[in-house]
Point group: C3
Chain length 342, copies 3
């Protein structure tokens, strides 16, 4: 597939600077893109490469002011990142092989139903009493336990595991190795120092348009007929732990290796960076941002806060204290000196 710079500008409602008739046939990073390739500039850190790039064309912001002459044609748009993403999607759809049909050997229980245009890979397992919607893709080695439901257009990649009773909304993506519905970690201490399991009898529910990353684990809720929930449009990255009874709000984004302890409720439109830990039984307000590796130990009631640190509090406070932390040995010496003087 080859497109002219003009054609691409038209798709993106952008304007061309330079030769609109040049042709591009693939994508490349601005640092390394070569002739025939289309690139984009969305992050100021990479502006230096603009002036040395061999790309045929580059998508840039309407606001960009050039400081030197450049070789590539420019396509100016309001949001280069979003525009580039639109193009990639277009390209992907054109390329995608649409898998359908049932590969053998696979295991589909006779009491389970499968919609139209589904793909079931070899060695996939669908237990008793499941309802699988239309256009669902279930890759090899995926495990769907008893009485699960998976709504239309969802994709369950190879080796993802859904314990009994899991509910998956429409247009969800569950990546390889993700585990939904394993037992919550609830142990009642006994007098002799041993522990007795608190039965974990709930399930996991993903609303529509949820994405779950590779090897992420979401434990089932404790109570029967009760769910650990990830709401509409939330995006959960790889290797994340969501403990029993947790609720993740709509359009909340959580980066890799973060853990949320039991019964905590995270609001809508929050952003949790990577390796964050959140203590159990908290409520986190909508639009909260938590910096990477932070430990959240208290509920956050006001919307729109950004917290950081261990334990976490407001990020500006943490960083100004940390700047002084670096001078602590000096401060200690100065204090001792003052004491001697006084």
């Amino acid at each position: 597939m080859e497109f002219s710079v003009e054609q691409i500008a038209t798709i993106l409602s952008g304007t061309v600077e330079g030769d609109a008739e040049l042709m591009v046939n693939t994508f490349g990073k601005i640092q390394t893109a070569d002739e025939g390739e289309l690139s984009f500039l969305a992050n100021d850190k990479y502006e230096q490469y603009l002036y040395t790039s061999n790309a045929t064309a580059i998508i840039v912001s309407n606001d960009l002011v050039l400081t030197k002459p450049i070789k590539p044609a420019l396509i100016r748009v309001s949001d280069p990142y979003a525009s580039f993403s639109t193009l990639l999607e277009f390209y992907e759809k054109a390329q995608q092989s649409q898998k359908t049909g049932i590969e053998e050997p696979s295991f589909i229980h006779e009491n389970s139903s499968l919609g139209d245009e589904c793909y079931v890979g070899a060695f996939a397992y669908i237990g008793d009493g499941c309802k699988i919607g239309n256009n669902v893709k279930i890759y090899p080695h995926a495990y769907i336990g008893e009485n699960c439901t998976v709504a239309d257009n969802s994709i369950i990649y190879s080796g993802a595991k859904l314990y009994e009773g899991t509910k998956v909304g429409s247009s969800c993506i569950i990546h390889s190795g993700a585990v939904l519905g394993s037992d919550g970690f609830g142990w009642a201490p006994q007098d002799d120092g041993s522990y007795k399991a608190i039965p974990q009898m709930g399930y996991v529910e993903l609303e529509d348009n949820v994405s779950i990353g590779a090897n992420t684990t979401i434990d089932c809720a404790t109570f029967p007929n009760s769910a650990t929930q990830v709401k509409e449009g939330a995006k959960i990255d790889n290797l994340i732990m969501l403990a029993h009874n947790v609720v993740i709000g709509k359009h909340t984004v959580i980066a890799a290796q973060t853990g949320v302890s039991g019964s905590t409720e995270i609001g809508d439109n929050c952003i949790l960076a990577g390796q964050v830990g959140v203590v159990g039984h908290l409520e986190i307000a909508n639009k909260t941002t938590v910096g990477a590796q932070s430990g959240v130990s208290k509920s956050i009631k006001k919307e729109g806060e950004t917290v950081f640190g261990y334990p976490a509090y407001d990020i500006k406070g943490y960083l100004s204290s940390y700047a002084v932390f670096k001078k602590l040995p000096e401060i200690y010496r100065r204090l001792s000196k003052l004491e001697k003087k006084s």
Copy 2:
């Protein structure tokens, strides 16, 4: 199944306040429970909901003093959490479908033996020379490598992986995606900057009543005939890393995403919270508690300590220093002002 409040109080050796003849048929959280539902109050944080709850009955502590009138019947017991757990267990046993038999296609090597009343799911794999006890459940896509043993009543969920030579005690639970016996991370640096693998020739051993969470990894020991060990009754949550030669003591509980480096021995009855890291070659005394996200860099010799921080030391010390850390910019200004004065 429906029970009267009276019947439940009898099971729990509790006393009823209110109408003992009311009937309940399921469980609910105190915040949301409705008519016909039974709930419990074990955490003071939720006491406010007691006065607005629509539950038919609530299990509470003998010590609870009511501050307002309430609608639900109360069942008073000495430990509401333990009582509730007993009920759930009762309910679960009643509901549970007892899986037995062998689904096809599965792979069971002819040199391996299987006890009575086992379940082997489709696509499960049992290699050469394995001994599987009675009433063991091996779910679809579980992998049991050569020469493994799994004792009576253990459950291996879908997609759990046991490398060659793994030993699993009785009544253990291994959740989906857990990996036991992968190579320890041992690399001998070479003169040219590359690394040569130190062969990892031991195995993993779980004693009885051990629970391993989803996607947790436990590496094999380095030495032949030597084990990375999780002792009797220890409970290991999801996404945890136990490195080669680690020993976890009896009835020790480790929360999600914690990592223990090579050759460290954790004592009995310890509690490690989530996202903790423990350096290699340490010894941690019995009954040690480690706060969430802490980094333990030294052995702990005295029993019963609670540590916190990065690196970790006694939790009271850390938290009082952290309280002052928040004032560091102010302290810096005050110190500079004093210096000018002096």
Copy 3:
């Protein structure tokens, strides 16, 4: 297999102190080794055990000065750890059962090719258009998506997952549950607060001699024809997250549960300890060492630095500040006292 102390010294080019004709038949830890067992001493922490050990022979450093009489024979070498490792390797090769052949049922697409002397376990899946080299071992439940290549002598353990287009070099090891090529975590925020997926169209590439630990996840690159890369000889432990477009340099070693955010490039011969987090879009110089649990938030330009802390800076600075941090309550009191005086 039984060897004399003399024979072992010959293999290792070492010298014997004590009875060279004693026989050993297995290995043991210095703390617990018994008669007939060979042990080694590489870490000063264990020197105390030398004088009480019942091992028949112990490999020690040429430099070791004995402070008391000892019972075992000694084999003196320049590097006891490396020597011991050589022996283990020797022993392992002798013991190893060389798996070859194809177990049924497995799924190998007709358009894919397999080299000589391969092993394909039952329930393994090899998709359309794959090229598998000679002497490759693919264990049960491994998933190799479309158009993947795996070069000679590589091992893919049970349940590892390779998404479409993954390239694996020669002599690589991929442990159970590792996921290579899942979608990068790229989401374009929309005006209504929801997110739209940025298509992730690249792949994952491992060069030769790379090792990937159990349940580690490596996301595919964003751009078509572009790779998230792990270069020659790098060793990646368990439960690690490498995000889209990351590059890991040659012979770099990364310990468990570390995460590297998108588009960051880690240099050659670096060491990242466990539970480290690295922010996206950074460049880390060759030979950088990062202490455990550190958060790296800025590029590191100078080679050979060791950093630590949250956020990370030079380790000596952090630790001297942390020593003073522990005295902060005292400092605060002393400052207030001085102020009253002045």
